[in-house]
């Protein structure tokens, strides 16, 4: 669109026609304050903070609804505008409790900031303030009406952003209030978007409220360890404890988006059943031992089995870092001399990599003109990807197609919906051929309903459309994709996970951050070593249990569902635990392996080796260090790796594999543990 020139406060500003004045001013470095205006959400013009003088207009105009026009002359710094702002703040404070000293938002409150900058220093309001008692809408969401300034951001983010519309407005005038969808309580995604978008302390979270002050925490931006979407979550840490997660700085691929897991389900790290000391099995059950003794026990047995040419099995994790995964597979292959290494495969990344087709980024989901979702309930299982697609539909009118077994939230925004029986997904996709071929471009997302041969057939279908098509293979957890690319897979001749569990003749089975006994029985009696946070079903059967640090307690990189590599930042420590990488190193050293050949077990050193040796991972370290995301380049499709069937764990918004069981917040919400929850 053509640019127009206008004048704001005497400064000539150029902006595309139809840009809102408030945005044009912002880009020119001129702040026009607002509460209700929120980039990307429907316009309200309700708070009246953005009133400015526009030449030839008879009265002050709201900059949040006014498109710029050629020759427009705007003044934001006049006494009249300053007086208008001051009067709005005076009005909004009349019924505000001013309980800043005990308000969670104190110190990071937009109302405080506005009054500080634009408001009056005194109050002329002598009447009695309205009071309404605070309400608990869910274990996550609390509402304090007196603090609410009725900017309706929460209502809009819930309806427009999340597609849930669990919040509305009831009553009238100064008695207006935000209301939850079930009268006295909420039934929703419990994502907390409403809480984080609230400019004041009207919406507060069950995990954070009255716990601490914002300035008393360290704010550490890291990657959520739950699903595979790779959302940046900024953890608020005080005294080695997570008090909250949010992403108000909109860094990371997810901007400000987070679901309940990214915001509130970090509490597993502080669960009382967290393993804090190594355990070695004795006749009377587990005996707590020192780290030195535990490492010695494991290394001694491993060395002995190695020496006699015994048989190892290694099961890696969907949650550990790329560095850990890489180091583990290298240690297994070179140190233990085994090719029996695998992990719980939740999506057929391997087949997609082998198809050598373009892979979509999370940003592509927001920009692509068309999106096809095959065989998955995206809003439940990949809520960030669903959010991107919803935003794309809202902002760019993207056409969305769903091929699914039952109703999904994306149906509401879908141009076409195809219902299929299990196994009918490919046939369902085929029925969309004519529509899809008319699209200028397409992103196809598919879950475990498409695997093996079907992946090849899907990509052939995509290629036959004659338009640019990109793909996303949906996987379950924070580093499921990385586990594949780092080679936590058997090469030709090695055993897959189900084969290892069923083999019966393994001498040692080393399970790192996984719980295979949940799905598989273990044949035989191998020497079982488990590294985990909790005494899982698998850990309970172990000979040695090594307490591992969680993703929030370590550095390293993870690769999300779209192949975007991002860096974990260590946020705090849980004394007694060690990172998996350190445990690997200690075992290797104790075994007397060739440490020079294995290399140092620091994340940066391992990543440097990954960059050298793993195709597609020669990524700009500076970008990752700065908190950016970089999509890994074209992989070689791991030509040696053995294909095996995949199965998603089928987590919902309120479950997260084994970790989810230890999140009190996930289990406290009414929707937990969750059939697939439908809003």
């Amino acid at each position: 669109m053509a640019n127009v020139k206008l004048t704001i406060d005497g400064k000539t500003v150029e902006a595309p026609a139809n840009t809102l004045l408030i945005e044009a001013a912002r880009r020119a470095g001129i702040e026009i304050p607002a509460f209700c205006y929120y980039e990307g959400l429907a316009l309200q013009a309700a708070c009246r903070m953005c009133l400015v003088e526009v030449e030839k207009a008879p009265k002050l105009m709201t900059a949040c609804t006014l498109p710029v026009a050629e020759g427009m002359v705007v003044r934001t710094n006049t006494p009249q505008v300053a007086q208008a702002r001051k009067s709005m703040l005076e009005f909004v404070l009349t019924n505000h409790p001013l309980d800043c000293p005990v308000c969670d938002k104190g110190g990071e409150c937009e109302l405080q900031d506005m009054v500080f900058r634009y408001g009056a220093g005194e109050s002329r309001f002598l009447e009695v303030k309205q009071h309404v008692d605070e309400r608990e809408w869910s274990p996550v969401v609390f509402y304090d009406r007196p603090r609410c300034i009725l900017c309706f951001r929460c209502v809009r983010i819930c309806a427009e952003g999340m597609g849930v519309a669990a919040l509305g407005v009831v009553n009238r005038g100064a008695s207006s209030e935000i209301a939850p969808n079930r009268g006295d309580h909420l039934e929703c995604d419990e994502c907390g978007m409403c809480i984080d978008i609230c400019p004041v302390g009207a919406l507060t979270s069950g995990t954070y409220r009255y716990r601490t002050r914002p300035w008393e925490m360290q704010h550490v931006g890291t990657i959520c360890t739950h699903c595979a979407d790779g959302c940046k979550t900024t953890l608020g840490i005080r005294n080695n404890r997570i008090h909250r997660g949010n992403n108000r700085d909109r860094s990371g691929v997810n901007g400000e988006f987070l679901c309940i897991k990214g915001r509130y389900a970090g509490d597993f790290a502080h669960h009382e059943e967290r393993l804090l000391t190594p355990l070695v099995r004795s006749q009377d059950g587990f005996k707590p031992v020192s780290w030195a003794e535990a490492i010695k026990t494991v290394a001694g047995r491993f060395a002995e089995i190695r020496q006699r040419g015994g048989k190892f099995g290694v099961i890696g994790s969907n949650h550990t870092t790329n560095e850990e995964n890489y180091y583990l597979q290298k240690l297994a292959r070179t140190g233990l001399g085994t090719n029996n290494i695998d992990h719980h495969r939740t999506g057929d990344v391997l087949s997609l990599l082998r198809a050598r087709v373009p892979l979509a980024t999370t940003a592509d989901l927001y920009h692509s003109k068309a999106v096809l979702i095959v065989g998955v309930d995206l809003a439940q299982q990949h809520s960030f990807l669903a959010y991107q697609i919803r935003a794309n539909w809202r902002h760019h009118q993207a056409r969305v197609y769903t091929v699914r077994r039952g109703p999904v939230r994306e149906d509401k925004i879908a141009a076409r919906i195809v219902s299929v029986e299990p196994g009918g997904e490919l046939a369902g996709v085929e029925t969309l051929r004519d529509d899809l071929a008319k699209e200028p471009e397409l992103v196809i997302l598919f879950g475990d309903a498409i695997q093996g041969e079907a992946v090849a057939r899907l990509t052939e279908f995509g290629s036959s459309l004659g338009i640019p098509v990109k793909y996303v293979c949906l996987v379950d957890y924070s580093n499921s994709r990385g586990a594949v690319e780092m080679g936590v897979l058997p090469a030709e001749g090695g055993m897959t996970l189900p084969e290892m569990m069923a083999a019966g003749d393994l001498d040692a089975l080393w399970v790192v951050g996984a719980n295979p006994l949940r799905r598989h029985a273990l044949a035989g009696k191998p020497f079982l070593v488990v590294q985990d946070l909790f005494l899982t079903e698998t850990a309970q059967a172990a000979d040695v249990v090594l307490p591992a640090a969680s993703a929030y307690e370590k550095s390293g990189t993870v690769t999300n569902v779209c192949g975007e590599v991002q860096r974990l930042q260590k946020a705090f420590e849980t004394p007694g635990t060690k990172t998996d990488l350190e445990i690997f190193g200690l075992i290797a050293r104790e075994m007397g392996l060739d440490l020079k050949q294995l290399g140092p077990w620091t994340p940066s050193a391992v990543f440097a080796e990954i960059a050298r040796t793993v195709p597609g991972y020669d990524l700009p370290v500076e970008v990752l260090e700065a908190g950016g995301a970089v999509q890994a380049g074209p992989s070689d499709g791991l030509p040696d790796a053995v294909w095996a069937p995949v199965q998603s764990a089928g987590d919902t918004l309120f479950t997260s594999g084994t970790l989810g069981r230890y999140s009190k917040m996930l289990n406290a919400v009414r929707e937990a543990p969750g059939e697939l929850y439908r809003a």
Binding site: L43, A45, A46, M49, A84, E127, L150, V169, G173, S176
Partner: protein, 434 residues
């Protein structure tokens, strides 16, 4: 049904059938030129009908006084979207009770006005949005609509003209705000009754975002007479730029309160003294609110004025919706200001900060002052708060609350000052307890 004796000074155009036996019935309507205007409009064609409307100088009777012909002309007749006709019958402005009478006594006149509007803009569906309190009026309207369908004045191929038109009534739920046209449309669509961001205006994006003709009951009811007798004849009844007659609703301290149809530009003092029988009990006139409660009050000495949009605007008040509220010398102006603010506070929709918080603050402040709890600084504060709302709210309701308040404080400042520092209200027979 009529509530007051007609006055010989009235010029009966819209109310000409009031008082006829069975004035609600189609037969009575037909016997008195009913549906002739529609036939004539079809013969004239849309362009000429619009021209007549413009010539008539009919200005919106809801209160804003926007020229009706111009408003209809904004509707893109050739838009591929469906077009709608919507009648604002959410008569809620305190002091106003004319639309009710027009619907009660002559529903077919309204329907014919809608038909003509539909014909002009190529709309085929009309809605009458009736305030919730007018339940019995809806029954009258529904009977008239049913009768019109039965006899071919609504429905398909009306009177063999090939024009189709359907009409539905819809009830509001008791919110004053829904009389604001964009809030009315939201409510009609089944949403919360809060106003929309404008532009776009309803003529371009109204009901269901489609082009919409939206007018007051009285405006639509004036259309048949204009088409039947010609725009020039209608215009000639009033003053330049203020065509026709208007239904004035005279209430308050007069001997003969009621609704009277008088030419635009009728003198306000004559209206009070000759039409409404003078101030009750021989008292002195103190003040008049000339056009419904949102209009700034006129002092007695300002009342020698022509009742038309432009003269009142010049006097810094408004003709508004035609609700003339007369107050005698015993009226407490602080209490009047409080009563009005109580209404606007109760009706504020809560969407924007200045109206939501300003009306509540002012209501509390005025109540405190009236009870004697005010201090010297409260009097200027009242005016200042109202000015802080004026022109800054999302919709005109904030202005409607601010304008009369500013006028009361400016024109009757001494009465506010007489209430301060524990003084009892000079107009209350008993001292008010603090």
């Amino acid at each position: 049904m009529l509530y007051n004796e007609p006055s010989p000074l009235e010029v009966k155009v819209l109310t000409r059938r009031f008082g006829l036996p069975n004035s609600q019935s189609l037969d009575t309507y037909l016997a008195s030129d009913g549906y002739k205007a529609f036939r004539k409009a079809v013969e004239m064609g849309p362009e000429k009908v619009l021209e007549e409307l413009k010539v008539s100088n009919l200005r919106g009777r809801g209160g804003a006084g926007f020229p009706t012909g111009m408003k209809w002309g904004f509707v893109p007749r050739n838009s591929p979207k469906p077009k709608y006709v919507v009648v604002n019958a959410d008569e809620g402005e305190p002091g106003t009770c004319k639309d009710r009478l027009l619907m009660e006594n002559d529903p077919h006149q309204l329907l014919e006005g809608m038909l003509i509007a539909g014909f002009v803009v190529d709309a085929h569906v009309g809605y009458i949005y009736v305030r919730g309190e007018y339940r019995y009026v809806i029954e009258i309207l529904d009977r008239a609509i049913a009768e019109a369908y039965e006899r071919g004045y609504l429905g398909k191929n009306i009177l063999g003209t090939g024009f189709d038109f359907d009409v539905y009534t819809h009830t509001g739920a008791g919110s004053y705000e829904c009389g604001e046209e964009s809030a009315l449309l939201e409510s009609l669509e089944g949403k919360r009754g809060v106003p929309r961001i404008r532009p776009p205006f309803p003529a371009v994006a109204g009901l269901y975002q489609c082009p919409t003709v939206l007018n007051n009951v009285e405006s639509f009811s004036a259309v048949p007479a204009i088409i039947r007798d010609g725009g020039a004849a209608f215009a000639a009844l009033g003053t330049p730029k203020n065509g026709g007659t208007r239904l004035f609703c005279i209430s308050g301290h007069v001997n003969k309160p009621g609704v009277y149809e008088l030419p635009m530009g009728f003198n306000l003092l004559r209206m009070i003294n000759e039409v409404a029988g003078g101030v009750r009990g021989g008292k002195k006139l103190k003040a008049v609110i000339p056009g419904g409660s949102s209009c700034p009050v006129l002092k007695a000495e300002e009342c020698d004025i022509s009742m038309d949009f432009d003269s009142l605007a010049k006097a810094k008040s408004m003709l508004g919706s035609g609700g003339v509220i007369v107050m005698d010398e015993d009226t407490c102006m602080v209490k009047a200001a409080l009563r009005i603010m109580r209404f606007y506070q109760h009706e504020s929709c809560g969407w924007c900060i200045p109206c939501r918080e300003g009306t509540l603050w002012l209501r509390k402040l005025l109540a405190r002052v009236h009870e004697g709890g005010g201090t010297q600084s409260d009097v200027p504060l009242i005016g200042e708060l109202a000015k802080n709302m004026l022109g800054r709210t999302f919709c005109p309701l904030g202005d409607a609350a601010a304008m009369p308040t500013i006028a009361f404080v400016e024109k009757f400042r001494e009465e506010f000052e007489a209430h301060l520092n524990g003084a009892p209200c000079p107009f209350e027979s008993k001292p008010v307890s603090a």
